[in-house]
Amino acid sequence: MQFPEAPGMGSVGVDDLRGGKPRYRHLNTQAEGTLMRRIAMLVFALFLSGGVSVLHAQDRQLTGRVTAGETGAGIAGVAVSVRGTTATTFTNDDGSFTFRVPNRTVTLVVAVIGYRTQELSVPVGQQTVQIELDVDALALDELVVTGAATAMSRQVLANAVSTVSDEELDRAPAATIEHSLQGKVAGAVIDGNSGAPGGGVQVRLRGVSTINGVSEPLYVVDGVSMSNAAIPSNQNAVTRAGAGSNASNNQDAVVNRIADLNPEEIQSIEILKGASAAAIYGSQAANGVVIITTKRGQVGRPRFNLTQRFGVFDLSNTLGFRQWETFDEVAAFFLDPSESTAADTAAMADLYGSGQAFQHEELLAGRNDLSYETNLSVSGGNEATRYYVSGLVKNDEGVIDNTGVSKEALRVNLDQRLGERFNLQVNTGLTHSVANRGLTNNDNSGTSFYMVFPFTPNFVDLRERADGTFPANPFERSNPLQTASLIVNDENVWRFTAAGNLTTNVVTRPQHELSFILGGGVDWFNQENDLFFPPSLQFEPLDGQPGTRLEGQANNLNANISANAVYTFRPEGASWSSTTSGGYSHLDQDLEIVRVEARSLTGGENQIDAGTNIQVFDNRQRTKVEGVFVQEELLLLEDRLLLTAAMRADRNSNNADPTDFFYYPKAAASFRFIEPSSWLDHLKLRAAYGESGNPPLFGQKFTPLDASTNIGGLPGLVVVGTTGADDLKIERQREIETGFDATMFGARASLEVTYYKKFVSDLLLSRSRAPSTGFTTEFFNGGKLETQGIEVALAATPVRGPINWTTRATFFKDASEVTELPVPSFRTGGFGTALGAFQIEEGASATQIVADISEGDSSFVATVGDANPDFKLGWVNDIDIGGFNVYFLWDWQQGGELINLTKLLYDFGGNTADYDTDPQFVERIGPVEIMDTLTLGERRVTGFGVETRPYIEDASYLKLREASLSYTLPEDLVQGMWGTGVDRIRLTLSGRNLLTFTDYTGLDPEVSNFGNQPIARNIDVAPFPPSRSFWLSVDVNF
């Protein structure tokens, strides 16, 4: 079997023009004086070199047609280009093209997404050409990013890079882009933090990379570093969640802002999972890099794509309540015989009434209002100008009253050829969303919905009265139905991203290609949190300050500039080629958060200045990163051997010395055996090594004085207790990765197996000082961590023909170990050992959970679990039968433990569904069965403080993440009814999270009270309940 040569590496043009991924990626910028001068110099250099053009020899006319191998139908939009020139054309609707090419033997490169790329030699004199392309069902030929400005065919790649295409992304509507990646990427643990509409999802690539540093991957969208900041709403001012033993304000059910991306606009997502692939992103790449490419215009007439969806969200799980059989049972539990009077008993009897059981959870979260989504895009253009415009309007109605997300998005992507040598890309995206997220997660004020239910027996009627008022909850400080009905907790986000790239192909000759790519872009968002708690709420007057109005304003600007050069050398007649690239990038991230808390609202007005107790908070964080890199990629032995070496140097303003450069080398090699056996088309062995960094958090290097407080209006500066080390610097990650890729059975199956190991050193740690120094905490670098794992990705098309069946499976597992810790073992996250905590300890897994346990008469702290799953497995099936398509995705997580504190709360309230379950068998002595004297719930509560294990639960689950059934109307029917103006109509029934199988007794094993965390996820405290969604969609292409 003949493998086509990989498309020319490093040249910018072919794939770029055909609407695929641009080959250049870059970091960032800012606009300051010195920098502008440097850019001006570079632009000058660009134009200088651009002036040197290559004149054409005589041309000839070439006509041809590109068809699909299986059906013989013409393929539209195929890019046909001549290797070694900038000449490119595109096929029209029936697959044919006409093209002027040099009058010599030329190599045509024929490429389009979804088909295997083909190259063929056309000798002098040949006027016509017929080209048949094979379907690339397994995406063997896709281009994958290898550098800031280079890409390469998956065939030769030396790293395991996962890619997810638009077709794989939009099978079932997802709240955010991360949801649509769940179960599809080997090495990525993607877990929601709760069922709240609008997002809050953590993506962890290749296990643990840090303990105290940033744990989010870097998101690069069309070359612009996009903020994934998670900014709390400050509902904490009312829930007082941070007033307990964990002061974190991340308990606000926070949305990480990558949620703003519109999945419909995305062409593909590439995931560089570790330092070995992402080293050229330097100090930002410790947690991997997610490279997102939005859709671009395709040459041809305007093609419209309309998708209309209607759906509903439906509560998918409840916890239930203890069933009270008799009033005696109620009295025995709630009334203390030594204290209570006859009046107390009468009052309780009155509350109990007839003992009717109310389903509070369904009353709160039983809503099934209609949700909708409308997406319209148009794409088209000619060889000079191409456009892609997309608009989105959607509204997801949450299962709880007054919750949901509405979102509008607009994207305009333009490609413009400027003369023969310049190509300009402009990408702009605007999104607006309003999320109403209810009041969930931990509290210390009896206000969060699922913090109230544990203490509210189900005989209490909380329902709205006929006059519109709600009864007070006699067992807690709030009535969740009233709270849901009256509060405002809106997150209103505007986001604008714009990126521009100017590419010039300075030299395009068969042997030499040189191009410069100048890029710049901004990503800006404003997040406004409007929260209002009117005085009529049951809990509002309790602090003597009726009514609370909270306002949060967060503004973030990421500004990027980059300049890259790529030089490809392909000696005539030689069996090797070389691509050299280098570049400069600058990123400036600037985030400011201003919050106002107004309490005791005059007249209960929903107005900040109606507050009589007003507090203002301000925080600003800014980080600048500047880097340069060089990279050499050598493709030898007729593309069988790839050798890559690269070096990035960057400096980061969060380091104690911001002028100090840190160096991140990378080296990789792959070797391909072509058809080593009859069934094995192609076997590739690969190995890669790379380094990356994780910078200190903003502010950690400083020894601050607090200037934010005053006394009676008198300002003052005070020592606050943290000191930064003079040499605070990045954490260093070194990663090795090795594996093999195989293609089998005539490209019917592919297998990718990868082993990796990460060595993280100079961990960012804090050490406690003797407080008598006036300081409590000092940040420093020290200690080591290792994480290793394997990843397997299998894809196959077992059946092809009238029935097409494509199946993909991913399997991966990883484990971490803290190998060196220069400070005593310490706990991170959680609420202390009585409630389960994470303990960082030398020789142990970084994600181990410790808790109080008892054996015999002694109670002590011991390891009781590990949040990290044993393995994850995703399985996608995609079956075409006639006009029908059946698709489903199973997502299986095995192992990992969760800390179920919601259950603990229910136990404290004597309200767990199984609280009253009969005593358990303890032991058998002879013929006698010894039974526990306590019920299940009583036994668990009795152990509080000495035995935490009943609340440490297995997090294994199997979810039917996505399923769809679609039907494409027959072409003749469509054209019979609507004429030739309509290309395709498809009807789809789809659903997300339709089925969940788990032994976990909480609402959903995907949960994190503290949001996205490096270590301390998997803590369940009163989350927003989970839902499944069902959708009916119509897609019309015209």
Partner: protein, 472 residues
């Protein structure tokens, strides 16, 4: 378009241009633009190394804030010491340790930052702030700040630093504390020294401060705020300084010194009893609110109702009726109940006394009693009984036994200084009377002192010695 020889320029000029451009980027990369300041806070080192008059004065005012830290919070100085001295309870349902650790248990826990390990760190933050201020003065020229102004700042800072040390040793007592703290930030902590050494240090600070104040001219170069109203010039502030010195002298049993200091303090039987220096609070943005007012869980000990005396008209001690109320229904938590609540600190802006005229009079009574002048002591005690409590004077009090007079003195200190900073617990400990405090339940006990916090112990001793253990 350039009209140079293209064939040659392609091979030579282009890479040169590219390299020149990249080189320009690298060369210009001197890195200054990478410097990002701390937008949220001024730097400590800046104040130490390049002090300005304005910054030093701001830091001096900062002492008003740092000395107020954790005074009024639900687990602050007033509340926790109030619980130990059986003045108050905290029935916070979400934290059982207000009962399990504070009232019961083997002892206070050095590793619980909110309880046994509390009331240490914030005081040393404040002490560090005072040293930063004092040291920064050396970096200011006489033109920036006159010697008299510097003396005023020094006298103020040392007085508040002495107050911080006093609050530390009040909680740690015989466990001792660290006094060698004026070290560079990077150096390890000084040793833990005995209670006596700490008291010596406090006396020395107060005396140095008083000398500074004598040289300080007519006014402070900064504002002391409403809490120091009447004590905001070096002369009047010195009377506050002497008041603190008198309290320390009485605590140490140096009654003669105490009387001397009281003579130089603002003690004045013709002035209002609540004349004094206060921590102030407000709901202004960035200010601190009186947390004792905000918490509905903070309640008074029921013995206050039982023990309050009445006058001949069967009127309850006015201090009870002004500061406390009997609740309509008792509140219960973990089997403990009380039917007495606080009227004190009803507003988020209510001040908390640091020291007041009423205490000075009672300190004088105590000193006189200690110097075996019971008649004079009795006069002061009766003065407070009548003028503060609305009670009848006790006839012939001065002729009763020293123990009886002491008990009466302690009764008056209890109600006069109720819930103002652990006076009850400290006084009863000084006289070995902690076992006389009422226990709500068997198994309860009165903890005698706070342990040295775990974080301090780990660095100081590896956590081995008794001062670090949970022992009370």
């Amino acid at each position: 378009m350039m009209t140079i020889d293209r064939k040659r320029s392609r091979t030579a000029a282009l890479p040169t241009a590219m390299l020149a451009a990249l080189g320009a980027f690298a060369a210009a990369a001197c890195g200054d633009e990478l410097v990002v300041p701390d937008f949220n806070n001024p730097g400590l080192e800046e104040l130490q190394n390049n002090p300005t008059r304005a910054a030093v004065l701001n830091a001096a005012q900062g002492l008003l804030i740092s000395s107020r830290a954790q005074i009024s919070s639900a687990n602050g100085y007033v509340s926790l010491l109030g619980i130990l001295g059986r003045e108050s309870y905290n029935f916070d349902g979400s934290d059982p340790r207000f009962v399990t650790e504070m009232l019961a248990g083997a002892g206070l826990n050095a590793s619980s930052p909110a309880f046994g390990g509390n009331l240490w760190t914030v005081r040393y933050n404040s002490i560090r702030t005072a040293n930063v201020v004092i040291n920064a003065l050396d970096g200011l020229s006489d033109n920036d700040m006159s010697p008299a102004e510097k003396a005023a700042v020094r006298g103020f800072a040392r007085t508040l630093q002495a107050l911080d040390f006093l609050e530390i040793i009040n909680t740690r007592d015989t466990n001792g504390a660290v006094i060698d703290v004026d070290r560079p930030a990077s150096e390890p902590a000084g040793p833990i020294v005995s209670r006596d050494a700490v008291f010596d240090h406090i006396e020395s600070l107060l005396d140095q401060a008083n000398s500074d104040l004598a040289a300080a001219g007519a006014s402070f170069p900064f504002s002391l705020g409403a809490g120091y109203s009447g004590f905001n010039t070096p002369v009047t502030f010195s009377e506050f300084n002497r008041g603190l010195a008198a309290r320390v002298a009485v605590y140490r049993g140096n009654y003669g010194e105490a009387l001397t200091a009281l003579g130089q303090s603002f003690l004045d039987t013709s002035a209002p009893l609540d004349l004094g220096v206060y921590h102030t609070f407000s709901t202004g943005s960035g200010d601190t609110q009186n947390g004792l007012a905000a918490s509905p869980d903070i309640l008074a000990h029921p013995s206050l109702d039982d023990d309050a005396q009445m006058n001949a008209s069967m009127e309850l001690d006015a201090r009870f009726t002004e500061k406390l109320e009997v609740l309509a229904a008792p509140e219960t938590q973990q089997g403990i109940s009380t039917d007495v609540g606080f009227l004190l600190y009803s507003g988020l802006g209510d001040p908390i006394p640091i020291i007041k005229n009423e205490e000075l009079i009672l300190l004088r009574a105590e000193a006189l009693l200690g110097l075996n002048m019971p008649e004079d002591a009795a006069d002061d005690i009766n003065f407070i009984r009548v003028n503060s409590g609305g009670l009848d004077p006790i006839a012939n009090l001065g002729t009763q036994s020293a123990d009886a007079i002491l008990d009466e003195l302690l009764y008056n200190k209890r109600y006069s200084l109720l819930f103002e900073g652990g006076h009850r617990w400290i006084d009863m400990r000084r006289y070995g009377k902690l076992d006389e405090l009422p226990l709500a339940s068997t198994g309860h006990r009165v903890h005698e002192r706070f342990p040295v916090p775990e974080a301090e112990c780990l660095e100081q001793t590896g956590g081995e010695t008794g001062i670090c253990s949970a022992g009370s």
